[in-house]
């Protein structure tokens, strides 16, 4: 594997015992004096949990913050849709939880492909997040005594998940949004809504600004800052069908990548086991049913693939509770990647249920007879309602049908311990960075990471970078570096609009999604990946030749927005397949058919792949360069995950 010489991947992990690293680092970092903070401008792109928390906290510290989102309000970021909950090592249940245990579980759950020091810090600040959110007025679930309630989530053996009904993401985001609104009112944060970042501006190798499109007027706008934060979310929508919101896309991260920010572990994607199966080819997105359902629901398929009886007529003896059978210790609560693959195996061998044979049953019959319909309704009522609204079937009576769907992306922009990418001054936070989840994320840990990055990490680490720039003004937006990027952006926009063409952007997005799902979805094989690497550029060329973007560039034009986003997904999709191809092992959400145990479980190769792979862009059509950051496991011993 060629390695270019001028990129060094220095994770900048502070020295010292893991428990002290963050505290020591906070002390060692340079500070910006209060009266100097207002001399600095920080650009924050994204108002999800990571972006809104970062913007609010930076504004509060006294920095000038320019905040961008393509949504019409910061409150609508994709984070709003998270249902299940947020983890924190509070040990309020006295069940043996601790910072160390959360750290341990996250490293192990991530199948040993995350950086220990980052994960430890995440676990450490998790407790502050809950304090912060409660102070802001997040109405977390309570016990009768008025104290906070917790539940066990996603197979964790302690109860450390805080939740607000089935709307935890909504409530956490509203908390961060309100904190942001306070800073907007105070004049510290300036909001730019319906404004999409289309490129990043560098000068002398540093990030100095961004170029955006006003999604209403179509105007291309330039913005300058001392540092740029990308909190722009994940890229599951590369698969077309996913549980992500419709607008989620990779453009910001991908443009950063093209300017020299390394992209790490793009093939680490998470397929969530409990989503509602697609009902037809026009399905526009997939709906997640909270993982908490697996606490009481039992997953099964008919033993006989030919069995066409309705579920209530299939007797116990003819049902295969395959998770309970294969994983007696964890049963229906095995981690997401394991549950997803198992479902795929059932559907692939013809055991799928529903009219399209594309689901498995999640059955509450037993739980209802044991606990009563009322208790089940109390726990899952809103989810049952949502399911019924979509499928017209009542889960109190008929078992739910579920199937895995792309949900979360562990890969993302490579960042060091300070959350800085390989481009100085360019930071990535939340799902947009390659994060702390290794090859598999545990349930309720994304919200935790987004808020950790935004509230408690970036506000410190950015100061350290800015302190070195005291006295320097921002690069004026009439500087040639801005003009150059703007020309590029305008040309790209003009090419789409003037393209002629016959097919809609969605047409190509669906085509790309299918290739990616088949080759780089729940299972990846050499042959399929190589085929995809040939097919993806071909579809992209066809897309560029034949996509039709009606209307003009000077107005609200959603076809134009989509075309730009899809164009960037093509590049990313290729990188995902390349990364999957070169990672000759199975770990977490990355399952290579060539690397499995005799029992069909993932087979890691720690000797050769205990590293993060970070890709360096070399121009379109040229193979990117693969760099590696070795991962040392000093605290959590490398073991084969076993849930049997």
């Amino acid at each position: 594997m060629p390695v270019s010489s001028d990129v060094t991947l220095d994770p900048k992990v502070p020295p010292g015992p893991i428990e002290d690293k963050w505290a020591t680092h906070k002390f060692d970092m340079k500070l910006v004096a209060p009266h100097n903070k207002r001399r600095f401008t920080v650009i924050v792109v994204g108002t999800g949990l990571a972006g809104a928390a970062a913007a609010a906290s930076l504004g509060e510290l006294g920095y000038n913050v320019e905040v961008f989102t393509y949504n019409d309000s910061p409150r609508r970021a994709h984070s709003i849709a998270a249902q299940g909950g947020i983890n924190a090592a509070k040990n309020y249940k006295n069940d043996g939880d601790s910072v160390y245990r959360l750290f341990y579980d996250t490293v192990k759950g991530g199948d040993f492909r995350a950086r220990e020091a980052n994960v430890y810090r995440l676990a450490e600040v998790s407790v502050d997040i809950i304090d912060q959110c409660v102070a802001q007025g997040v109405p977390f679930a309570r016990e009768y005594g008025g104290l906070l309630d917790n539940r066990s989530f996603g197979g964790a053996q302690v109860s450390r998940t805080f939740y607000a009904r089935g709307q935890t993401g909504q409530q956490l985001l509203l908390g961060a949004y309100q904190a942001l609104a306070r800073q907007v009112a105070a004049g510290m944060c300036r909001l730019h809504t319906r404004r999409e970042l289309l490129d990043i501006v560098l000068k002398d190798g540093r990030a100095v600004g961004i170029v955006c499109r006003d999604l209403v007027s179509g105007a291309i706008t330039r913005h300058s800052g001392h540092a740029v934060v990308l909190a722009t979310g994940g890229y599951s929508n590369a698969f077309y069908l996913s549980t992500n919101a419709m607008y989620c896309n990779v453009t910001a991260a991908w443009r950063a990548h093209r300017h020299g920010a390394l992209f790490a572990n793009p093939c680490f994607t998470q397929i969530h086991p409990t989503c509602i199966p697609a009902s037809d080819e026009f399905q526009s997105k997939l709906t997640l049913m909270s993982e908490s359902l697996r606490n009481d629901g039992r997953i099964w398929v008919p033993k006989d693939p030919e069995d066409t009886r309705p579920p209530d007529e299939i007797p116990e003896t003819d049902r295969d509770y395959y998770l309970e059978r294969r994983y007696p210790a964890f049963g229906n609560l095995v981690p997401r990647d394991v549950a997803s693959r198992a479902a795929k195996r059932e559907v692939d061998t013809g055991h799928g249920v529903g009219s399209l044979g594309n689901g498995v049953y999640l059955d509450f019959g037993d739980a209802i007879s044991r606990l009563g319909a009322d208790t089940i309704g109390e726990r899952y009522g809103n989810l049952f309602e949502m399911y019924e609204r979509i499928t017209d079937e009542n889960p109190y009576v008929v078992p739910m049908r579920i199937y895995p769907a792309p949900h979360y992306t562990m890969g993302g922009l490579w960042v060091d311990y300070n959350l800085m990418t390989t481009v100085p001054g360019l930071y990535a936070a939340g799902e947009a960075n390659f994060s702390d989840h290794g090859a598999n994320r545990l349930g309720a840990s994304a919200l935790m990471q987004g808020l950790a990055d935004g509230y408690f990490i970036l506000p410190y680490t950015i100061g350290d970078y800015l302190a070195g720039q005291l006295g320097e003004s921002t690069v004026p937006t009439d500087d040639p570096v801005f003009a150059e990027v703007e020309t590029d952006v305008s040309d790209r926009v003009a090419r789409f609009v003037g393209n002629g063409g016959t097919q809609s952007p969605d047409h190509y997005h669906r085509a790309l999604g299918k290739v990616l799902w088949d080759s780089c979805g729940m299972e990846r094989g050499r042959e399929g990946l190589e085929k995809a690497l040939a097919e993806i550029p071909a579809i992209r060329d066809e897309f560029r030749k034949n996509v039709r973007v009606p209307g003009t560039a000077e107005s609200l034009n959603s076809s134009l927005e989509k075309a730009g986003r899809i164009d960037d997904f093509f590049g990313l999709a290729e990188l995902m397949c390349r990364d999957a191809l070169l990672r000759e092992e199975s770990c977490g959400g990355h399952f290579r058919v060539e690397h499995q145990t005799d029992e069909g479980e993932a087979l890691r190769d720690d000797e050769n792949f205990a590293h993060a792979a970070a890709w360096e862009w070399q121009g379109e059509g040229t193979e990117p360069v693969r760099h590696t950051e070795p991962l040392d496991f000093e605290h959590v011993q490398l073991t084969q995950r076993s849930y049997k």
């Binding site: 409660v134 904190a179 047409h507």
Partner: protein, 256 residues
Amino acid sequence: MDLTLRIWRQADGDAAGAFAVYAIAGINPDMSFLEMLDILNEQILADGGEPVEFESDCREGICGTCGVVVNGIPHGPEKATATCQLHMRKFHDGDTVTVEPWRATAFPVLRDLVVDRSALDRIVEAGGFITAPTGAAPDANEIPVPKEAAEASMDAAACIGCGACVAACPNGAAQLFTAAKLAHLDLLPQGQAERFRRTEAMVDRMEDYFGSCTNHGECEEVCPKEISIDFIAMMNRDYIRAKFKNLRRLGQRKVG
């Protein structure tokens, strides 16, 4: 199923709009209403036209991005359901369906079915928060919150900010939105310190943008989260108390 669609088309905020009529065939009843519009747009694009602009992001009824008026009702005929969660099985083969943007003075049309709802954010900026600087919070369990209070607060906090309440109101008032936002914070112990200042500031800001409430109750009817108008009563009561309290505070201030 086959349908006739009457859809509001408007090039931009300044243009005059009008209904355009489209025929659409072969709609699967399990499809969502917005997927039906997706198909319509594919059809329009294939015919060389410009697709109908409408907004949606989560398509799960939680982000509040979607929202159109279907046959005269904001979010359409199914109760407690945002447009993105509405399914075609609620319609019949041969129906004519009229689709319009939110209609309210405070929500100018940007294009077709897309409106500008940023006035709602301005209300929140006026005081819809608890001043809790990052890092200054005490341990979360130091502030016990009675379960009932947390639940009531959550009932209000469930608001998705879609603006259907404003669109349904004959006066274009935003009372239900503002009251929900206030109740979310005012029902919690953490929200008490700023309660009356918050109430006065948010209500006053609301009145800068929106019409006034004359108790029609249409808002509650269309709310996809079934937020109760009881919160409006609470807001009104607090507003009057706030006026007195805040005036008193004003009187104690040294003048000159």
